[in-house]
Symmetry: C2
Subunit: 156 residues, 2 copies
């Protein structure tokens, strides 16, 4: 049994909560996050284990304007979608998404068993999130949450 | 074969370079870093795979004043030393080190085979590094490197 400041991620609760508005919420409910960084008390970046159940996605395909993101595949066969198409990433493969490149990405699970990803991202202020495939745009609020708007600027 | 923005960490070069001054360099030469975040073009945080060969350490035991750190054990049995003593962490276990807590830590490999750690840390400016066990103190420079001083303030 690991003790503080170490821990077993499996001891943390999972949540499939999403702040996406309808009609974009449903597709996100088959990914379940464990907040490792938050549990450890980190403030400068987040570290999640994201479990994508069969048929699920990590998020809608998106790119951050100011926040870097990095993903390491822990288990399963993850389909990575980017601007350039698709590829399959197995355990031990990884991908980085620097802020501001417009490289929009998401991970899908088209298999029969869970995909586990270790997902890292910083908390740079003023971040916006571009969703090329759907009528949604995210803006980071001063309280650290994201608010979602249509592409014409009207809020959900 | 993964393609951009994905990659296989095993394709990156390893380095055991250390900026530690003598006489504290030697103990650090059995840890070998692959710079995943740098390879991906991230600027806001670093992601390394650190391979600790038998008998090696990840670093001298240290605590950051402003930078958060997080470690996920990928392979092997890592000995985590903190202010509180030692514990052994196997694959899938993790530990977080929020900035400013003074929780000084390092990982050791006392086994016969390699330990692999996934190590994340941000790049907050003004960081200092406290080394409770040795006559050394680190200060982050504006160019992103650390300079090392004795505890009386004289530079190495």
């Amino acid at each position: 049994m690991p003790r503080h400041p170490a821990f077993d991620p499996a001891d943390l609760p999972e949540s499939n909560a999403t702040s996406y508005p309808a009609p974009y919420r449903e597709e996100n409910l088959r990914r379940h996050n464990r907040r490792l960084g938050q549990h450890a008390g980190l403030r400068n970046f987040g570290v999640n284990i994201t479990r994508i159940a069969p048929g699920g996605q990590s998020s809608h395909r998106h790119a951050h304007t100011r926040q870097d993101e990095f993903v390491y595949v822990l288990q399963g066969e993850a389909v990575l979608q980017t601007n350039d198409g698709e590829q399959i990433l197995g355990p031990g493969m990884c991908a980085g998404f620097p802020a501001g490149t417009g490289e929009a990405h998401r991970f899908l699970n088209r298999g029969d068993s869970d995909v586990l990803l270790l997902v890292m991202g910083d908390r740079s202020s003023g971040d916006e999130v571009i969703y090329p495939d759907i009528d949604m745009h995210g803006r980071l609020q001063p309280d650290g949450t994201f608010r979602f708007f249509r592409k014409d600027g009207t809020p959900y």
